[in-house]
């Protein structure tokens, strides 16, 4: 992945879901989660990851260090 959502901080406001260019974000059990297979860190779409930029709670959409960073194929 790339990005993940810290569940304990998520307000479930859904703002990130609409902004994600990869449709990688969805609601599961009352909180939002990022599908690591779909997340591209917004590389190729925008200068900044959209979930990070729109999230109302700082440090809630963060890099998931347990996974390798996204590598653009081109």
């Amino acid at each position: 992945m790339t990005y993940k959502i810290v569940a304990s901080q998520c307000t479930s406001c859904s703002a990130c879901e609409a902004e994600c260019p990869n449709v990688a974000i969805s609601e599961k059990n009352g909180t939002f989660v990022i599908n690591p297979k779909k997340c591209t860190e917004c590389i190729g779409y925008f200068d900044v990851p959209q979930c990070v930029a729109v999230c109302p709670v700082d440090d809630t959409c963060v890099i998931d260090n347990s996974l390798p960073r996204y590598q653009p194929s081109a």
């Binding site: 859904s14 703002a15 609409a18 902004e19 930029a53 729109v54 109302p56 709670v57």
Partner: protein, 500 residues
């Protein structure tokens, strides 16, 4: 459970020949087509708010800006936030809830979408909800409340769904001041901060306002009064929004407390006192209609302004409810409400005529315990808010309300709670109640506030004018001496539901 109440509007006696204040204003104070739009909208008409109820549905959780008075992790103090305890609704659930409430509360005439985020940052959910409701309950007025950032993009859709009331929260038109209120806005796929963010926001808000008024959509502007940041500046904001055709301006006090977890709550930013708020509202009133009956309600509030019946209409409960949307029954009920309302206005006007000879410069404030219908019909100990009227030789004018903790809990009063009530109405000469116990009566008298129960269940304005006449007569005869009252406290906190 945390509850807050909202509200909007203005207050004046209306019809007394002076420049009318919009929402207190009555039928004869505005063009017929505007009166038709506001006459049963509790938020746009102070007069209507005694009789008609509104509801909000929380279908719009996402927001596109950050405000220093808001904390998305908890109930928001100023805007309408369901926060952590309430339910988000889908448009389908919202439509069902509206029908359930409309069946149970026939005087519910207005459906608003006010968040908990920004309705126009969730356009799909917001407009789907309007579509479903306009099909199922065509007599219900639709309105929405927005921060304005996306507003210009949606004016056409707002028109298409016959949304004829839009509220924009405008706290500044000066980006230097805006930078102290808004840490960032999400704009064109970027987070923009500082003055640049505030500049984008104010440009979009004013453009949206101009577009709406050009399309004949009634606009109210909400402003949060933040002492030391935008308090003086709001006079300029008032002029700017008036010149762009806003119908009503609602200046609300900042509600700020550390437990809200907001930036302002944590950095000790205070809210205004009752006198500071009233002075600012008074100074803007010559410019345009001022709303003073706003209860700053939450995004899922249900009922008359100042009451909150949302706990009766949770998703679990509405699913079990037998929903019978009977338009003719609703109309019959509302006709009765209109009869009562006209009787109230007639009684007020008759009483006002008897004041005609009085030319005193004196103004006093009185507090009223009421649960609606424009009557003094609440027990002192059961009131969770008092409505404040200013009495002068012009009559009785609604100038605000004060929320208080329930003084009477479980049948007996508590000293500490009584002190809270006294602080909240300390600027008042008298408090009108349907009933009051012996002990609180004595304590109020000691504090210099006269408890008045002789007008129990009578109309508020008629009674207040009669009281004022009597008050002037007593001063003339030397029976009493007029004493100028001090300031009062605006409660810092949300309404706490009784059922919680």
């Amino acid at each position: 459970m945390q509850k807050m109440a909202e509200h909007k509007g203005c207050g004046t006696s209306g019809g007394s020949g002076k420049a009318s204040c919009g929402t207190g204003a009555g039928e004869n104070d505005m063009p017929t087509e505007i009166w038709e739009k506001v006459k049963n909208h509790p938020c746009y008409s102070e007069e209507a708010h005694h009789h008609y109820a509104r509801m909000h549905v929380a279908v719009a959780p996402a927001c596109n800006i950050q405000c220093n008075y808001c904390n998305r992790k908890y109930d928001c103090a100023n805007e309408s936030r369901p926060g952590v305890v309430s339910e988000k609704l889908s448009p389908e659930q919202a439509a069902k809830k509206v029908l359930a409430v409309a069946s149970a509360i026939p005087q519910m005439t207005v459906l608003g979408i006010a968040g908990p985020g920004d309705p126009l940052a969730n356009p799909g959910k917001t407009f789907k909800t309007f579509e479903l409701i306009s099909e199922a309950a065509p007599d219900i007025k639709l309105c929405l409340s927005t921060n304005g950032l996306s507003l210009p993009d949606h004016v056409e859709t707002i028109k298409k769904f016959n949304v004829d009331h839009v509220t924009i929260t405008i706290n500044m038109t000066d980006p230097d001041i805006g930078a102290e209120i808004y840490p960032w806005v999400f704009w064109k796929h970027k987070r923009v901060t500082g003055k640049e963010a505030a500049k984008i926001l104010t440009d979009r808000q004013l453009k949206g306002l101009e577009m709406l008024t050009a399309n004949g959509i009634l606009c109210k502007v909400n402003s949060v009064m933040i002492p030391g940041i935008n308090d003086d500046h709001l006079v300029t904001v008032n002029r700017e929004v008036k010149s762009r055709g806003a119908f009503l301006h609602n200046i609300m006090p900042l509600i700020s407390s550390p437990e809200h977890g907001t930036v302002f709550g944590l950095n000790g930013q205070r809210g205004p006192s009752a006198q500071e708020l009233k002075a600012l509202q008074d100074s803007c009133e010559g410019e345009m209609n001022m709303m003073r009956h706003c209860r700053q309600c939450r995004a899922d509030a249900v009922g008359l302004l100042g009451e909150d019946r949302s706990a009766e209409f949770t998703t679990d409960k509405i699913m079990e409810m037998d929903v019978n949307y009977d338009l003719s029954a609703r109309q019959a009920y509302q006709e009765k409400v209109e009869e009562e309302r006209q009787a109230k206005v007639a009684a007020r006007n008759a009483e006002l005529e008897t004041l005609a000879g009085e030319n005193a410069d004196l103004k006093i404030l009185v507090a009223v315990a009421t649960k609606g219908s424009g009557r003094i019909n609440e027990h002192f100990g059961h009131a969770d808010e008092f409505q404040i009227y200013e009495l002068s030789s012009n009559g009785a004018k609604f100038v605000g309300h004060r929320r208080v903790d329930l003084y009477c809990q479980g049948g007996y009063g508590e000293e500490e709670a009584l002190e809270t009530v006294i602080r909240a109405i300390n600027d008042c000469t008298a408090v009108f109640v349907a009933k009051i116990g012996h002990c609180p009566k004595e304590d109020l008298l000691k504090a210099g506030i006269e408890p008045v129960d002789q007008y129990a269940y009578e109309f508020i304005e008629q009674s207040a004018i009669a009281y004022f006449k009597d008050y002037l007569a007593k001063i003339k005869s030397g029976e009493i001496t007029h004493v100028t009252r001090g300031d009062a406290t605006i409660r810092q906190g949300a309404f706490v539901s009784v059922d919680a």
